[in-house]
């Protein structure tokens, strides 16, 4: 079922996206693993939170050696989550609540258990031989970096069956598909079409920079890759208008820009470089890292949108920072080396911020007011914690904590059979942090998140408006104007742990009254003098400007 609501082809600009792992959300059949029926049962919760789109992590059959990013069958769903009918029922239920559904689509590679790879490796004459990238030596494409530094020594792996090396940019059990092969491209289109016809509203395309390899390059962001992606987009626009493509490309802003094309490639892309700088700015108590990266962010086509996020299922990536910045982030946010993985930090939002409610609110305030579509990672709306002892990135993928009862309300199964242990410690354990408890109180983090999302949705300025930074002399204050048509919103953030006084040059808006958007109280009119605000630690304001 396709969403029945009016087709605004730019719906993603106003979206509030919630990233969820089906496995981790709610188990309906007591087998210890979340499923589609369970997810369906929690759609009301998501609707009440204010979510307008869901991004599902991989739902495909998989040996689960990389949490589903190693796909073994593109035309089905993992049996642990249910079947295709369950998925369709979930999709319909989501659409009934005006919640769109974006699914993960891993284009770059498959599981080595995928029948395509099993055939490809069968012999050098197999028709699917060239569906993957084979080589007699492991010396080709030397310019390509290794992404999973903690586990992989090379981008080539020796296959003892076909006695050749195969190319893999991620784990060695995830061989890269060969996009130089038209047959591969056509098959992937068929996959996408299969799901689009079912009614999904878009794809988050995983690892797109790496589709094509060429000698004497770093094998990232190549023109050939963009050409392939544009082709997919053109076909989607023709046959499925209004569907959305979201790029996962962990690149510098200038390189990310290419993924938007002229509005003919991706609709959205994650702004990876901004995210660590938000955390950096908070620790430095200095807006500089944030404003600088946004100053370097190029303009994008009008129909396109950045995706902003604080945390996700992966480590907090520190690939797109300098060595000095990375060292600083490790020293400040990951003193325990067990928290570090690859080039990142595998912690959830609340633990990263020392469970400081004020900082959690401030970071969410920036997430929801900077230009872009915000993505909330499941569980962060209630301040869930993490468990770095679970290995890889599994510590940030623990079961959703619904209540303080049996298995945190996640599952009726025996605790030992859960796909992952629950958090039990007194600070983040399910008895201390859960949705049911927080729903009962107006001043809980969950209630606050509902409120701020509601305020954000009260105006299209945040999703579609321009941004102009003010640069007050007090570097601890990040201030900017968001504008769309006649509507103007002033956002002021104190990124420091101490009270601050800040003078803002608002003379251009002289005569306007400021109306604080949460309490809707009136603040003094803007005059000729600098506008003085005093702010508590980590406090932020959203003001609507109004001329009376």
């Amino acid at each position: 079922m396709v969403l029945a609501s009016p087709q605004d082809t730019l719906w993603y600009k106003d979206a509030i996206i919630y990233q969820v792992h089906v496995r981790a959300f709610y188990d309906s059949n007591g087998d210890g693993i979340g499923d589609f029926l369970g997810l369906s049962q929690k759609l009301d919760y998501l609707q009440q939170l204010g979510v307008t789109a869901l991004w599902l992590m991989p739902i495909f059959p998989s040996p689960m050696r990389d949490d589903g990013y190693d796909i073994a069958d593109y035309y089905s769903v993992h049996p642990a989550y249910g079947n295709l009918d369950d998925f369709k029922a979930f999709l319909a239920a989501a659409h009934q609540r005006d919640i769109r559904v974006i699914i993960e689509m891993v284009l770059n590679h498959t599981s080595n258990q995928h029948p395509w790879f099993q055939e490809s490796r069968g012999s050098r004459d197999n028709p699917r031989r060239n569906w993957y990238v084979w080589s007699e030596t492991d010396t080709r494409y030397r310019g390509a970096r290794i992404i999973f530094l903690d586990t992989e020594l090379s981008n080539w792996a020796w296959d003892p069956v076909s006695k050749e090396y195969y190319w893999h940019r991620f784990f060695s059990h995830q061989p890269d598909l060969n996009y130089d092969n038209p047959a591969v491209r056509e098959e992937i289109w068929k996959v996408m079409k299969f799901w689009l016809e079912m009614g999904v509203d878009g794809f988050r395309l995983d690892a797109v920079p790496y589709l094509v390899e060429r000698e004497a390059t770093n094998c990232e962001n190549l023109p050939e890759t963009h050409a392939i992606l544009k082709e997919f987009r053109a076909r989607i626009d023709k046959e499925f208008p209004g569907r959305m493509l979201l790029a996962e490309a962990n690149q510098w802003p200038a390189d990310l820009r290419q993924y938007f094309g002229d509005g003919d490639e991706f609709h959205m892309a994650f702004h990876f470089p901004l995210m660590p700088r938000m955390f950096m700015g908070l620790k430095l108590e200095d807006r500089k890292p944030i404003t600088e990266i946004l100053q370097q962010t190029p303009a994008i086509p009008e129909s396109c949108q950045w995706c902003l996020f604080l945390r996700n299922h992966d480590e907090l990536t520190l690939e797109m920072v300098t060595d000095a910045e990375r060292d600083y982030m490790y020293d400040e946010y990951a003193k325990d080396k067990g928290m570090r993985l690859n080039l990142g930090i595998r912690r959830r939002l609340a633990p990263l911020l020392d469970n400081d409610r004020r900082r959690i609110e401030l970071m969410n305030g920036m997430l929801l007011s900077l230009p872009g579509t915000p993505i909330i990672y499941y569980g962060d709306e209630i301040g869930m914690g993490d468990n770095i002892n679970l290995g890889d990135r599994n510590g940030v993928r623990t079961p959703m904590q619904w209540n303080g009862g049996w298995n945190g309300g996640f599952s009726a199964a025996d605790p030992e059979t859960l796909y992952s242990p629950l958090l039990l410690n007194p600070v983040y354990g399910f008895q201390a942090v859960n949705a049911l408890s927080q729903a009962r109180f107006d001043h809980s983090l969950l209630s606050w998140m509902k409120h701020i999302i509601k305020v954000r949705k009260s105006t299209p300025v945040f999703g579609r408006g321009s941004i102009e930074f003010l640069y007050p002399a007090n570097h601890r204050v990040l201030a900017y104007m968001r504008q769309l048509g006649k509507e103007t919103v002033l956002v002021v953030n104190n990124v420091s742990s101490s009270a601050q006084a800040v003078e803002l040059d608002l003379r251009r808006y002289k005569g306007n009254i400021l109306i604080e958007m949460f309490g809707r109280n009136i603040f003094p009119r803007i005059g000729d003098l600098p506008y003085l605000l005093t702010m508590g630690p980590y406090q932020f304001y959203w003001f609507r400007l109004r001329r009376v």
Partner: protein, 422 residues
């Protein structure tokens, strides 16, 4: 009437924008556009390289410059609006400039710096001379590291000086400070130095700022306070010191700011508490002394003539300051031909001590006492130049050491003349 604040409203506003810092670098200026740009850029580079994570600020306290001094300082800021292509700074670095209230005076500038440091709760501070055009970024590390990482309270510089430079320091300030306070501080009147917030607040609390001493000699007084107050001392080798044109320097002004302060400070601490034992070295990063011997032009004749004329003209004044014996030796020395004249270590030390005692007893105006020392100092400077004319660096240093030991050995003479007769 309300006391005028040393902080103007504009200055205060700038400090509010800066907020709490870990490091404050003060640069006092008055029409220093010729050199201050290089200085603040070196300071900035030093902060970015050696203290990248610390919250820092450069605070220029200006006495009312009419040139581009203040603009040059402000241009050194690093922010999201003002980036430097060859410096990648983790955080914002404010470089602010403000006019302090009152007339231009080094002590008043230091007062403003200390006040700013107190308000911003700076853990470590440094003062850098705006005319040190040869400053390197490493100076920042050398001065601040002992404070930031090793809990030092005061870090004074050690320079590589030409053997004919720093004569006042070598012949009077260093030997006297060492003899009276027992610490071998090479630069008791430093142009650049670092100190802890703790020491800064201690000095700020002293009741000197409305007096002349607070306006002209606060740096020297800070050093003395550090030495006598049980604070942790350190020295750091900075490298070459830019030569000052001796002829252009105002000797009387320099004496007031240094020797005058030393004499005044002796009033504050019972002389009996002055050390009796041998002076102690101070922990030093790098060499404790270094002398360069490249040839420089010096006008020895002018110094000799200044001495002889001074002795003759100031005879009545000197007779009220010096003991009969010291005065007689001086008269005899003044009659010698230029090539034969020498102001011996013993005579010089006795001279200085008797001046100090006369200052203490205020036998005449204290300012006149300090002024009267000028021609005698010229005689001593002449002697130093002659005796070290062909000397290598180590020999110069040995001569300075000998003078210091003479000062230490003649301490009892100071005690004798302090409250007693001449």
């Amino acid at each position: 009437m309300a006391e005028e604040s040393i902080l103007t409203d504009d200055f205060l506003r700038e400090l509010i924008n800066v907020g709490e810092v870990d490091i404050l670098i003060g640069v006092p200026t008055y029409n220093d556009a010729a050199t201050v740009g290089q200085v603040v850029q070196a300071v900035r580079a030093g902060l970015v390289e050696y203290f990248p994570r610390e919250r820092a600020v450069i605070v220029n306290v200006d006495g009312g410059s009419r040139d581009a001094t203040r603009d040059l300082v402000r241009a050194a800021s690093i922010s999201d609006l003002q980036r430097v292509s060859d410096l990648h700074a983790l955080r914002t670095l404010h470089s602010i400039s403000a006019r302090y209230a009152g007339d231009p005076a080094p002590g008043t500038a230091l007062h403003a710096i200390l006040t700013a440091a107190d308000l911003l709760r700076a853990h470590a501070c440094a003062v850098i001379s705006p005319s040190s055009a040869n400053i390197q970024p490493e100076w920042i590390n050398q001065l601040l590291r002992p404070v930031c990482r090793e809990n030092a309270d005061l870090v004074t510089p050690v320079y590589c000086r030409n053997k004919f430079d720093g004569l006042l320091v070598r012949n009077l300030l260093y030997p006297m400070t060492r003899a009276l306070y027992g610490r071998r501080l090479r630069e008791p009147h430093p142009a650049e130095f670092a100190f802890s917030g703790r020491l800064g607040n201690h000095l700020l609390a002293q009741d000197i700022w409305s007096q002349e001493i607070g306006q002209i000699g606060a740096e020297t007084y800070l050093v003395i306070q550090a030495v006598t107050g049980g604070f942790r001392l350190a020295q750091s080798f900075l490298g070459p010191k830019l030569r000052i044109d001796q002829a252009a320097a105002d000797l009387v002004k320099a004496l007031r700011q240094s020797v005058g302060v030393l004499f005044w400070a002796l009033q504050q601490h019972p002389l009996a508490s002055a050390t009796n034992g041998e002076s102690q070295p101070i922990p030093t990063n790098g060499p404790e002394h270094q002398v360069s011997v490249e040839p420089v032009r010096v006008n020895r004749k002018r110094l000799y003539q200044g001495f002889t004329h001074g002795v003759a003209e100031l005879e009545p004044v000197l007779s009220s300051i010096l003991s009969a014996r010291t005065l007689a030796e001086l008269r005899r020395a003044a009659t010698l031909a230029e090539d034969d004249f020498r102001y011996s270590d013993e005579l010089w030390a006795s001279t200085v001590y008797e001046f100090a005692a006369s200052y203490h007893k205020a036998v005449i105006s204290r300012d006149h006492i300090v002024q009267a020392l000028a021609p005698l100092y010229r005689g001593r400077a002449y002697t130093f130049l002659v005796e070290n004319r062909d000397a290598k660096g180590e020999e110069v240093e040995a001569n300075v050491e000998a003078l210091c030991q003479t000062f230490e050995r003649l301490r009892p003479h100071l005690l004798e003349v302090w409250d007693g007769g001449k």
